[in-house]
């Protein structure tokens, strides 16, 4: 480095210091450097298969040990009771451990052929509302299809997806072959109830959730615009869901339809519904009350272990951006904003102050979500309401880490049922409120679409 360059840098640094020192952090204009640290101080720099599996870098001492206990439990395989280790699987279930769906703490993929051992589950309900204004359980099946079972018990039904191809044409004539899923649910253990509604959902990545959990309610609500008062075609509405611990309705944050309030309840529900593992929040087996149901005995996981797993998820770090300063990536980011993607995929959020949990306190993060529900159009609709989310509304998915999906999970399947086989297919599926942004992308010249993808891959 030449001395003159150093002087220039020093001068710029001096000006920067002078300028920024007078501005509140919130108002400080964003610089490209900020975004490298997608998870604020809890960002890690692993770009490989473990990119979603690192603990918060500043998690020390006993807190690190609790993370480790949760990590082991997250990977623990449950088996039929009685057993010396991890008993209590089923009797009906979707999978045998947390990590068998959230492989490498990452994104699941749609089932291949007729395999039932998959990282996709199917939510069920019938019309009307159930307890606490949630979806109404399907009689004999509950709120979720368990397509696997321990020996001697019948799975509730089998599930697979068949696809039909169709072509989408960009304005410049480039064609994309897309696959439209057709869900087939068959061979039920008792006849399905009339009017059964189904919603297949892929296991989402689980890193960074502690930071999203720490975003203030009011911050989320500040972006809501249910009646589209500002007339930009984007509404954005919060879901309100039942909090089992507080015994009241709260803002929904997690799940494809923001249908879960927090990490602890999400984890407890997954233990219960996905694996048949009872716990202090969900005490009844998922098959309770069904003809194949079993008596409930002791909880399968202890309270402390459940809390450890929630803590593990809460303290999984966020991988840093890659190549954020690359010219093409910077241009792609402009395309992202110009097309209107950022209207819902809000780049920057801030976590609230929390002196008892310094790792997640007051962090500026770049998750690319507004945590709100949006109408995504008929093509993506599951037509199954979930609390206040309508059949065509979905929560804006965080985009952080999305460019690492291939190296962590070996595929590039996106959206709630994994139907999109690339990021561009995922964009093209957007409809409803996002139709305008999608059309803007379709109208881009190829070079602009390429840099847009480069930007997404850098997230």
């Amino acid at each position: 480095m030449k001395e003159r360059t150093i002087i220039r840098i020093a001068a710029v640094a001096a000006i920067a210091i002078v300028v920024y020192s007078c501005i509140e952090p919130d108002e400080r204009p964003e610089t490209p450097a900020d975004e490298w640290l997608a998870g604020g101080s809890q960002t890690i720099f692993d770009k490989g298969v473990s990119a979603f599996s690192s603990q918060f870098p500043s998690l020390l001492g006993n807190r690190g040990s609790v993370h480790g206990v949760g990590d082991a439990a997250f990977g623990a395989t449950f088996v039929s009771a009685p057993a010396p280790l991890n008993p209590g699987l089923g009797p009906i279930f979707n999978n045998v451990s947390c990590s068998s769906c959230h492989v490498n703490d990452g994104r699941g993929k749609p089932p291949l052929g007729r395999e039932q051992n998959t990282s996709l589950l199917v939510r069920l309900s019938v019309s009307g509302t159930g307890a606490h204004d949630g979806p109404k359980p399907a009689p004999g099946f509950g709120l979720q299809l368990q397509q696997r079972s321990i020996f001697g018990v019948r799975p509730e039904a089998s599930f697979h997806i068949e696809y039909s191809d169709f072509v989408v044409e960009m304005n410049d004539g480039t064609k994309y072959t897309m696959q439209r899923p057709n869900y087939i649910i068959e061979d039920p253990y008792i006849p399905f109830p009339a009017g059964l509604m189904i919603s297949p959902r892929i296991a989402p990545p689980v890193f960074g959730l502690g930071l999203l959990e720490a975003v203030e309610d009011s911050d989320i609500l500040s972006r809501a615009d249910e009646a589209d008062a500002d007339g930009d075609g984007i509404s954005g509405k919060p879901n309100h869901v039942w909090d089992e611990m507080k015994q009241q309705a709260v803002i929904g944050r997690f799940g494809w339809k923001a249908n879960n309030p927090n990490i602890l309840q999400q984890s407890a529900a997954a233990y219960n519904e996905d694996m048949g593992i009872t716990n202090f929040i969900f005490r009844n087996e998922s098959s309770f009350g069904q003809s194949q149901g079993v008596a409930n005995d002791a909880y399968d996981v202890t309270d402390s272990l459940l809390q450890s797993v929630a803590f593990y998820i809460r303290t999984l770090a966020v991988p840093a951006r890659r190549n954020a300063n690359d010219d093409q990536v910077v241009r792609g980011k402009m395309m992202f904003h110009e097309a209107g993607c950022a209207s819902c995929h809000t780049p920057r959020l801030k976590t609230k102050t929390n002196v008892s949990f310094p790792e997640i306190s007051g962090q500026t993060i770049y998750p690319y979500t507004d945590m709100l529900l949006h109408d995504m159009g008929e093509d993506l609709a599951d037509n199954r309401p979930d609390f206040e989310a309508s059949g065509s509304e979905w929560r804006t998915s965080p985009l952080w880490g999305i460019g690492l999906t291939r190296v962590v999970n070996g595929h590039n399947n996106f959206l709630h049922d994994g139907r999109a086989r690339s990021l561009m297919e995922a964009i093209l599926w957007h409809g409803g409120e996002a139709a305008k942004a999608r059309d803007n992308v379709k109208a881009m010249p190829e070079a602009d679409r390429d840099v847009l993808l480069k930007f997404l891959e850098s997230l």
């Binding site: 002078v18 298969v49 088996v79 057993a83 280790l85 492989v103 490498n104 190296v407 999970n409």
Partner: protein
Amino acid sequence: MKRLILLSVVLTGLILANCKSDDDDNAVPAVDEAQNTLILSDFSVNVASAIYVDLATKTSNLQDDIIELTANPTDITLAKCQQDWKAAREVWEQSEAHLFGPVATEDIDPRIDTWPVNFVDLDQQLASDNEFTAEYVNSLDAALKGFHPIEYLLFGKEGEKQAKDYTDRELEYLNALSTNLLDLTAQLAGQWLPASSGNYIDEVSNAGKGSNTYKTQREAFEEIVNAMAGICDEVANGKMTEPYEQKNAALEESPFAKNSVIDFTNNIKGVRNVYTGKFKTDGHGLDELVKAHNLSLDNEITTNIDASINALGNITLPYGEAIILQNTQIEAAITAINELQSVLKDKLLPFVQEHSN
């Protein structure tokens, strides 16, 4: 005034950093792309791909001898199967030093190496009249197939299995399990070999040159070193610490063959394979890169690998007993492996980052 001081600190820092990097640049060029290409290619061919081919071969031997055991169940044919299981296990555990690529992303690891075994369902499977077709066994839960149910059926819960004990159903199930294990290990080998499109030899070798997975050579190097450090973490703080701290032998893997300590040792030997670029055929390993720039780091890594293996060698009892009776030896081994992990994570990782683009 404070601002001025800060500015001068920034300036001084920049100037110092500048001078330092100039000095280093006069020695050996930091990044030798041609050498890095050789190292990545030899890792893929001589270590990862070779090890998966060998795993499939060893699994095939196991299958052959299980067929023989079925036709002629004697303690000699059983002993052969037990030896085959250990031989296949040795290769698999060494391969765990590079748990990335298809083994991780295609969900193969859990299907061949899940612990614990689901004994309740396994007994019921044996008692049933379900036909153990390849398709049926493949559809079973991971806790009913792979290395450990095979181990259980070959060694018995206390390592007491004798040929005369076998029921027809057990032998049928063993045959089906060995076929399933062979299918999965052959699939794994196939995903690395050049015959398949998008094979993983190319994904790693062509890092930074068209690889879909690794956009730069540095990313591939980071993946490799993180995996080496990762298995040390898994052995020291997972496989060894969990049964040890909880004094719970049920947490121990490979208890039926009393193979756990051998498993741990092979995990660390796997780290050496990756470091030296050698499974059977010697190639350009990470050690070449390290030796070219930093002999003391090379010495530190090899010393720590040897120390870890030696420390494991001092655990002479089956692990389930050692957690009660050989605490000193276990703690010494955990410490040694954690030291190896720190060297890999805190020294080798920044080193390869500095010496790759």
